[in-house]
Amino acid sequence: MEKIFFDAATNIEIPSVQQWKEKGKKVVGYTCSFMPVELFYAADILPIRLRGINAYSMEISDSYYGPFVCSFPKAVIQLAGSGTYHFLDGVVISNGCDTLRRMNDCWRKMGEDIKGTLPSWMYYVDVPHKPDGHAFDWYVNQIKKLIAAIEKQFNVHISEKNLKKAIKVQNKVRKSLWELEKLRRETPLKLTGTEAYSAIIASTMMPVDEYQAHLNAFLKTIHKRKQDVADGKKKLFLGGSICDDFELVSLIEASEAVVVGENICFGIRDENDMVSETDDPIAALTAKYLSASVCPRMMGWYKERSHMIINKVKNIHADGVIMQNIRFCDLHGTENGLLERDFEKYNIPSLRIEREYGPLTETGRLKMRFDAFIEQLKSADINEQKI
């Protein structure tokens, strides 16, 4: 596996971020896939996704968040409270879900108690729960306000030219990521889900130019490979709650399976998942980040979502689907319940699990489910042969 990607996906303050800082440049953390990273690159600021990996205890976050709350934002607060995010020059929080938006409140309160944990700049972006109409206009305005706030805070100017350039650069990354996705559909399959997924996560943690170079190199290596990593294994699709703790993917692949696609808040959806390079940049960013990023938080769009997900499962030729949700993530928990019924209609075998976010210290119970699911898929094969 590409070590550079693996390191970027499993650590927070990676060497490339440190090098970026050493050049005297700024780093800003953000929470959701609704955040147009282009805005920051246009100001020569490095945007990184806030993550909660490697949080082994919750003694800090549990004193702000209550008990019946998803462990992802809790893990982020725990890390922030322990100083992991000390290098950030700012944080932008958006209302991806209720618990995430409350991270803003908990973080500020923590800043009163533990010195040095509050970044010098905290900004809240209000993402509407509708992708079109007046909500579109609202988000255009939110982006404009964010631009103004960045300009003021970091004493920079975000020009249209730079914005357009940043869009171009990100589109190139998206094209390469799509390249990667296409490779995951091929037989022989030349890369595992763990490899692909760590490359995808790394894209949110590394400066874009550096990332693009590594990704190009990685794609080249894959092309040269011969071995089929899916030989004798079942191809699975993974969906549901945010899952940057990709140990889960590795655990699935420790059974006789390989993950060939996901839909979990990272990566790109399809080849059209691009930002227009000709339209007004802010409208173009809104179209991509708001209108095209319909997630279960946008109530009333389930049909479009299920259509998109089922198509993806079919296109990647998955043998089955694993749908997971973090405990207390009702948005995905419920959507998984609806999807389960629809998968059944299309004869797509599926397995639904609920889990805690964070380090997998105990894998027995999960592994048993994955093993059994794969046994189920295999016994279905034997039956087909009989018929």
Partner: protein
């Protein structure tokens, strides 16, 4: 004036006899299924140690989970008030008391007069209670009393993360399967418990001195880990078995009324 405090918990029963601002005897036994039996046995033990009869005691205050069932109590008081009182009597500089009990854990904030200002108890399942250690001692087949010392000899830093005691037990079993050392597992358990309890104290905002009371305070592993979790040194009671603190507080309250 001779008074007594009787603390009938879900796991242990404790009694303290108190005279002229002094503890004259105390006793601890494992709780019996019948709380009445527990209270009668424990008070008799404390009385015989002090060479006294039940009618020598002027006032008895009962506390703890089974307080309603103490036949001879003149007055009942919540564990929270009793623990606060006991710790404050022992150490007037105490402003925060952490008590890990059998069924729940509490963080209590008190003022300079020992009055409870705020308190909170564990909110999620029981991974922050004494039951947790008991179940784990069972799973690891070690004695409850030895857990602290064994845990101190740890070498590898392991982690137990599950929120649910029962699933945390699964984690422990899987660590045993991986041939992890018992000391390392114990150390992880102590940190896990201490961190859950630390969040209670943190949510009230920390105020020194912080005293840890209750039977679990005798477990040096949890005790040390608690200081780390809170980010502030935790103190133990001065010269008193932390387990009798609730009964002590009850006896003191009896003497005040």
């Amino acid at each position: 004036m001779i008074t007594a405090g009787c603390d009938i918990g879900s796991r242990t029963a404790k009694a303290v006899i108190f005279e002229n601002n002094n503890i004259i005897s105390s006793a601890v036994i494992p709780a019996k299924l019948d709380p009445v039996e527990s209270s009668e046995t424990i008070i008799q033990m404390a009385l015989s140690q002090a060479d006294l009869q039940l009618n020598d005691i002027e006032k008895i205050v009962g506390t703890g989970y089974g307080q309603q069932e103490i036949p001879f109590a003149h007055r009942l008081e919540s564990e929270i008030v009793c623990h606060a009182k006991g710790a404050w009597w022992n150490m007037p500089s105490a402003r925060m008391i952490i008590d890990i009990g059998g069924q729940d854990s509490k963080a209590i904030k008190i003022d300079e007069n020992g009055k409870v200002v705020r308190y909170t108890y564990n909110d999620k399942c029981a991974s922050g209670t004494g039951r947790f250690l008991e179940i784990m001692a069972d799973a690891l087949q070690v004695e409850l009393e030895d857990m602290g010392e064994i845990g101190k000899t740890y070498k590898e830093r392991l982690n137990i993360s599950n929120q649910c005691v029962i699933f945390a037990e699964t984690e422990v079993v899987s660590l045993i399967n991986e041939d992890k050392d018992v000391a390392d597992i114990l150390n992880a358990l102590h940190r896990s418990l201490a961190n859950r309890v630390a969040s209670l104290a943190r949510s009230l905002t920390i105020a020194p001195d912080i005293i840890m009371t209750g039977g679990v305070a005798k477990n040096c592993g949890v005790f040390d880990a608690l200081s780390n979790g809170i980010g502030f040194p935790v103190k133990s009671l001065d010269g008193i078995d932390p387990q009798i603190n609730g009964a002590l507080g009850a006896a003191i309250i009896a003497s005040e009324h």
